[in-house]
Symmetry: C2
Subunit: 462 residues, 2 copies
């Protein structure tokens, strides 16, 4: 038996793959991770949970205890904020051979200034941008790439120009695998791609668009032993769901009223929703928080899907937003996301470019910072509060998905008034007080003191 | 009694400040953190340690146990990888009011590819770039800013265009303090400064050079209640020393043979050396690792100070290197660093711009990544191995000080062959195999397959 065959044999006992549309279950996915019957997405399910003691309160409290006590373990698995929760993940035949960069373990920060701006008493941010490569993608990548290696693959691949390729390349390098990144011609965010290059990805730029890259990649994985790591891969979502587990643990298992996530490809929302649902099913929590999704107005496929088609059919859009991590017009996981919104009673909103920029500066001003895509959560919260969907006293957690350093150019342009040059007079009135460009000051003590006094007066008058 | 006076009264019992040159001890530093007698640097000392049970093996093992068990605590202090070690830090009167972003807790990564490149059996990297703002500065900032707030300051300040201002601004924002950054005219790394702007620093650009900024800042803190946070502040070094404690804990208190750090302002080397020395004094370890410092050839003040003046007198230089975090010609902490090199038996080397670029790409290729300044450690290790100072079988730890995302432009330029255009033919032969620019590929399956086959052949022939 080859390593790959052995791995598949051992893994299949622990979980199965199920089509989210026709419900067919499989022991193992095909190379494209689509249902061979109806072509829809797959999700990981755990048939064993139904048969054993999973539903007892004892098991739930044992799990909480076990996970917590692993903070005192020195093993590589337990040092990962993902694998620490491995009872809810696919069982790997060689747990010590997981590929990990000590992902997860991300902090929960208070955002007092943002709370005031949004009109809620207290606001928390789960900062997944504090992952090793600077985005939430790492939590999913550790699982999917570990599965790839244990199944015997030596190459992994994705079509991406951003956080996914950065994360994939880092984990592949760490695990001794090779990684292939396909990128389209034309407008590329080279800054983000610099990570993939440095982590050693083989990067091919094709004279086609993003969909063309994805098409060629799909053909490739059918014909060559290369493991597909685009977000259609359900193992990535299994890793990502642990952020919900970790969050609940940080809240001492007190369920918040709202969790708000940015919506791009919608994998994160789907993953967190799945994690929460499983926690409830297993009795670790007894109610669900409302999970709401916020999109940029220029990349609002889910918003339109819900408003125009009642969530039954995707309305793809030509995506355009400066929040590059969610500049996606044709989100893969839209159907999973719709179900999460329905099952948790969450809302879906869109926010403008100016609203995103203001929210991002406010998150920075609280000493936390994030990439533009993450800031849609705060911008959206403001709307949800105005609509009465979120009450002032309710406990709200924003999910920040990327680090401030992921997009320094955006930050710089914003503060130097080079972003949103087309903003209206009204918008500018709200934008300008958030901008903090350097002041030109005479090189002497008195001049600096005058600047300080002005700043102190401004603070006092607020 | 004001809060500040109360804080000073309580803090003074726990520690004192001592001039490193004339040895005078003070209960409290002046605004400039220099000895009023001889003008030299101050360091934090703990007179109480001599009087109590500090030297017993029991206390040492209790400390190890206490620190480790704090991993199961839910308190804010214990969640910080700095304050978890608070028995070796100044006692703050209100421990719950520390300003923290959950700094420290940084991972120790294996670098197998780099180990092969350097000619050692095994190589570890303590990655301090995984701190919240992306650099090791955070570990010192949490201590110094907490002291500032508890002493009653509402403003903090530094002259900096890089990691220090980013870290200061984040912690100030987190703690509800205001921060002032003075930057010189001319060449500014705006990408790095974007963090300080976003975290809300009041940034003043003065028509003078860096030394001019520092001069004005020194005058300012003498005349106005503003807390100085440049690296002359000895409380910053107290926080930074905890990285040595955390490293030793991760190594289960087995002392490595070598620790290698980048040398810029030399505060980090001084801090780690102090931490190691204190661990030995308190009986937590029984020998010291050799702590070596590596500088860029273009910013080699310490190298020249040792070689030309026997370490007795600073040889300042006009600093020039693309590794901006160590582009410092007049290092503040040179005298502390010389003493650490002497007491630990460490070495000091310099490396070229090409050597830095290659080393950085190798650290990336192991899936870890870092900013250019951090890569001098690997480049220097190669030299130390060739010189026989480091033996193949010895245990070596590199200290990586900044995250890959701190300087995406450098990374991108390197891989696109835009960095080091003036490299010699010989250098180019070593540089080019490390460069990984995207390949232009026809948009069809066969073309991509050909690229893959070529890559596989190249791997196999290595």
């Amino acid at each position: 038996m080859t390593t790959g065959a052995k791995a598949r044999a051992e893994m299949k006992g622990s979980h199965a793959l199920r089509c989210i549309e026709c419900g067919t279950e499989f022991e193992r996915a095909g190379a494209e991770f689509r249902c061979p019957h109806c072509g829809d997405l797959l999700e990981v399910v755990y048939p064993g949970w139904a048969a054993n003691e999973a539903h007892t309160a004892v098991w739930a409290s044992q799990l909480k205890q076990t996970w917590w006590e692993r903070n005192l373990s020195r093993s590589t698995e337990d040092a990962s904020g993902v694998w620490r929760f491995r009872e809810l993940l696919p069982h790997l035949p060689e747990p010590r051979r997981i590929i990990t960069l000590r992902e997860g373990n991300t902090p929960l920060f208070a955002l007092p200034g943002c709370a005031r701006a949004a009109g809620v008493d207290r606001l928390l941010a789960k900062h997944q941008g504090m992952n090793p490569t600077g985005s939430f993608k790492d939590t999913g990548m550790t699982v999917a790439i570990s599965v790839a290696r244990q199944e015997g693959f030596s190459w992994v691949a994705c079509a991406s120009t951003g956080n996914t390729s950065a994360s994939m390349a880092a984990y592949a390098a760490q695990g001794g695998l090779r990684s292939l990144v396909l990128i389209p011609e034309g407008k590329i965010a080279w800054g983000k791609l610099s990570q993939a290059l440095d982590y050693g990805a083989l990067t091919c730029q094709l004279r086609t668009d993003f969909d063309g890259c994805l098409r060629i990649l799909t053909e490739l994985v059918r014909r060559h032993p290369i493991y597909l790591l685009n977000s259609i891969n359900p193992y990535r979502l299994e890793g990502q769901k642990t952020a919900a587990l970790e969050l609940l643990e940080q809240l001492e298992w007190q369920v918040p009223d709202h969790i708000i996530v940015p919506g791009g490809n919608l994998g994160n929302c789907s993953a967190l929703g799945k994690g929460l649902e499983e926690l409830r099913r297993l009795g670790l929590i007894h109610s669900l928080p409302r999970l709401s999704v916020i999109q940029a107005e220029g990349a609002n496929a889910l918003v339109r899907t819900l408003r125009e088609k009642g969530g039954r059919e995707l309305v793809p859009v030509q995506a355009e937003t400066a929040a590059t991590a969610i500049r996606i017009g044709n989100p893969v996981s839209w159907k999973k996301a719709v179900r999460v919104l329905e099952s948790t009673g969450g809302s879906c909103e869109q926010v403008s470019e100016a609203e995103i920029a203001i929210a991002k500066a406010e998150i920075g001003r609280d000493g936390v910072g994030c990439e533009p895509a993450s800031a849609v959560t705060l911008a959206g919260l403001k709307k949800l509060v105005k609509q009465g969907f979120v009450q002032r006293h309710e406990r709200v957690v924003l999910t920040l998905t990327g680090h401030l350093l992921k997009d320094p150019e955006y930050t710089l342009k914003f503060h130097r008034r080079e972003l949103l040059p087309e903003a209206s007079e009204a918008e500018r009135k709200r934008l300008d007080p958030c901008r903090r460009a350097p002041l030109q000051v005479e090189p002497n003590l008195e001049a600096v003191l005058r600047v300080l006094e002005t700043a102190e007066k401004t603070d006092a008058s607020r």
